[in-house]
Amino acid sequence: MSVNRDVTVLQEARVSFCGNTAVLLDAEGPLTLATQERIWRLSDTARQWEGVVDTQPGMNSLLVVVDPKTADLEALAARLGETWPAVPSGRIEGRLLEVGVVYGGEGGQDLPEVAAFHKCTPADVAKLHAAPEYTIFAPGVTAGFGYLFGMDPRLFTPRRQVPVMRALGGGVSIAGIQSNLGKPYVEGSAKAAPTGWYMIGRAPDVPSPFDFDKTPPNLVSLGDRIRFRVDRVEA
């Protein structure tokens, strides 16, 4: 693994175009809960704007999607840039979900590599990883538990340069300063997917984060918190 702890940190917020269907706001400064709370608020606000069809927070960023047939993207970009500095912060008291994790072993096969990278034992990695409370900062790549914030910076692990195939279903993974919790395996869907993340454990009893038979279908929302419990560390 090449060591590269540099993450783009902007001095000022930046608004850019994503083709002709969306505008992306990248917030200034490091990733913090206070900034992310403002992103969530702006996401809710911008979704009400005329011409906006959807919004999606990222880590320290917000995507605002429009209908390209009717949108005035320049005006939207200007409005986003002007609105952002005045968006207030404010605590959202999310719910807490505790999830038991088997670190290492099958499904957590990258734990030894991560431990070697950090020059510590697999048990040390598990302990460091399970110590903090994680906040759901942004939606993930598909309906699930989203991108989590709160990992101990000592576990910073650069994303893989070349993606590897890893099993889907309740996986606990890390990359950069982020950590992920995979949803349970869905019968009939792909069993594995390419990823640049490191799988350090699995959560055998993870509940489904999105269930169409429930109203609302989502188990968790932005601002909810997840606590990992070390059930076992396997060699």
Binding site: V7, T8, S16, G19, G58, P139, G144, S189, F212
Partner: protein, 330 residues
């Protein structure tokens, strides 16, 4: 009703996708060729975004179990209705028992079957698109299989004024593509707008994206296309934070070989973005098979708007023409 008699894997029901669920991480999905789907629906008098069947692997064989007005648009495959060859981009009426056979396209990639009234499957989160990764939407949340029986919703009854049916000029002939310098025969040109990390690429790479051809590799599907060509380099390798992405985004992983995220893209990603292909040109990528060659040209927002209007004008013309060619039955 339609019974699927034979189909390779990965053929699914799709519409224009689901919009408004990104807060759950659910991206748009939907067809790879929006113009072909909309053209089929225009020929039949359906709503523009009515769901159709997207065929990307062939041959496909199906049987109409009752009289059905249908259209086949998109890829240049050979379509035969009970042995009778159909013209390209054509709508006509099948009688009960008629068999439709679609064989492999010559140059293009994806064909669409639309039917008058549309398919009778429930909308899930506002759309009938199949979300293959999470197994919801479309026909039981999965790709079509031989033996599947698809019901139609009752259309407003109509007749084609000409019993043979009605056709459309294929979008590739009717809607002008962009062009670029030293364009070779058979290359597909798409327009793109520079994205957030454009400036972080070195000058040679910024130029190379638009000056060199890109081969579509075999690692290309509805989720995205992996391209191969002159590697693109950044001035500094920085970790990116995960952020929401849109179909059309040209990401550059550390290998320097770009990926274009397409219809079934994840809703978020973490690779730097050099540009984003404009919405009006995404269908051209959807019709480009592995082995094909892609060229990029930068364009302005104004040019993107003009491209959107050109596509819209094509569909409006088609709706008008097709309307003249159908007569309602009281």
């Amino acid at each position: 009703m339609i019974e699927i008699l034979e189909t390779p894997p990965l053929n699914t029901m799709q519409d224009l996708g689901r919009v408004g669920y990104r807060q759950h991480g659910i991206g748009r999905g939907g067809v790879m060729d929006r113009l072909a789907l909309a053209a089929g629906n225009a020929l039949l008098g359906n709503e523009e975004g009515e769901a159709g069947l997207e065929f990307q692997l062939f041959p496909v064989r199906l049987r109409f179990t009752k009289e059905t007005a249908f259209a086949v648009t998109g890829a240049d495959c050979e379509a035969r209705l009970s042995g009778r060859r159909l013209p390209a981009w054509w709508a006509t009426r099948a009688e009960a028992g008629d068999e439709l056979v679609l064989s492999s396209p010559r140059k293009e990639m994806r064909a669409y079957l639309t039917i008058a009234g549309g398919f009778d499957v429930p909308k899930v989160l506002g759309s009938r698109s199949t979300h293959a990764r999470d197994s919801f939407g479309g026909y039981h949340g999965r790709a079509l299989l031989a033996g599947d029986v698809l019901q139609s919703r009752a259309p407003e009854p109509f007749l084609f004024r000409d019993g043979a049916g009605v056709g459309a000029t294929p979008a590739a002939e009717a809607v002008a593509a962009a062009t670029c310098e030293d364009l070779a025969e058979g290359e597909t040109v798409v327009r793109a707008i520079p994205a957030a990390e454009y400036q972080t690429f070195d000058e040679a790479s910024r130029n190379a994206l638009c000056r060199t051809p890109w081969k579509v590799t075999a690692r290309s599907n509805r989720q995205g296309y992996a391209l191969s060509g002159t590697p693109l380099r950044r001035n500094a390798l920085l970790e990116m934070r995960s952020h929401a992405i849109v179909p059309g985004v040209i990401q550059v992983p550390p290998s320097g070989q770009p990926l274009i995220q397409l219809a079934e893209a994840n809703s978020a990603g973490g690779y730097p973005k050099i540009g984003v292909v404009i919405e009006a040109d995404l269908w051209r990528i959807g019709q480009l098979p592995p082995g094909g060659t892609l060229r990029f040209v930068w364009c302005s927002l104004a040019e993107a708007r003009a491209a959107e209007e050109a596509a819209e004008a094509y569909l409006a013309r088609l709706r008008r023409l097709a309307g003249y060619c159908r007569s309602a039955i009281a």
